[in-house]
Subunit: 187 residues, 2 copies
């Protein structure tokens, strides 16, 4: 759902193959655990090609997060709309994601936890990502744009963050989604 099919990656340009391969590996195994040599091998490009497009690994990390942001937001908006576009759409939408076999948590929270001190830009990138997530949540409520609604969406967004990390360690996702529903119902 949020992961590209490997078969479709093969036909893309070298740059896109690198980006999508990194996207998959960084999300699955983490950023530090994924060496550029592995990305290069799996994307089937030459090392020079890699460094021509991404002068350093950090450049690739930033583009990975940028790409993740666009892809995740697109999925989130579409799924919320498909489930009715009001607040009751939130839990069914998150069920799709948290229950996915490839689910490994939020790429931004994970990257922040892994590289926080070392790459300060990630906190800023994460902040923007979550702001936009909250904007999408505000769109489910009456009077989006009003201060009250914005604050409500921020509170719900915090609960969603709790569900996202909870789903990483919980035995099952349904109990997590139950808690989130009861939290959201009361806001």
């Amino acid at each position: 759902m949020l992961m590209p099919e490997p078969s479709k990656i093969e036909k893309l340009s070298a740059r896109e193959r690198i980006l999508l391969t990194a996207y998959r590996l960084f999300y699955k195994d983490g950023i530090r655990a994924t060496g550029v040599d592995r990305v290069i091998a799996e994307a089937k490009v030459a090392k020079v090609t890699f460094y021509r497009h991404f002068p350093s690994k950090n450049d690739l990390v930033f583009e990975f997060l940028e790409y993740r942001h666009r892809r995740w937001m697109a999925w989130f908006s579409e799924s919320l709309a498909a489930h009715g576009g009001n607040l009751t759409a939130l839990v069914p939408t998150l069920r799709e994601w948290l229950g996915d076999a490839d689910y490994r948590g939020c790429a931004f929270i994970n990257s922040l936890g892994e590289l926080g001190e070392a790459v300060p830009e990630i906190a800023e990138i994460t902040r923007r990502h979550k702001q936009e997530m909250n904007r999408s949540i505000a769109g489910l409520l009456p009077n989006p744009g009003s201060k009250k609604t914005t604050e409500k969406a921020e509170i719900i967004g915090m609960a969603v963050d709790g569900a996202i990390v909870g789903a990483q360690y919980a035995e099952g996702v349904e109990e997590v989604l139950d808690r989130l529903r009861r939290l959201v119902d009361r806001v």
Copy 2:
């Protein structure tokens, strides 16, 4: 508060110096970013000594999480009690932690995000840690031990997880604590 003073580490046995040094570095910089050579150098022990006490780095990681769990739980219980021992104690207690200069999020959530697939034991360790956190939260409510109270504590625990990660990327902690308070008030 949750960090030991470096001056006090020096007087301890080699094993304790290793553990406390790892505790500090793993939490601050992450586990993969911290090589055993660095731990050995800063703990001022010989390499053989290190590997005699911790046959592999993963053994040290597990002991780090075990130590963190004990230390964090002790702080959490004490601070909740010091702030009155009821539900209103939660936000002031978390303010101490989230506002601390050394704050780098939850060691368990961070380790899980960093090593999730590679070290499956961490999910189980994290689950136990959060269960015990929820038990402490249940202790702030009437009828701790009852099913209703346990469920309530789990919901509040999810909100706390949201606040913990929120404080890692937010501009300021007060806004995060405000949201948490409003969330908890409604449970």
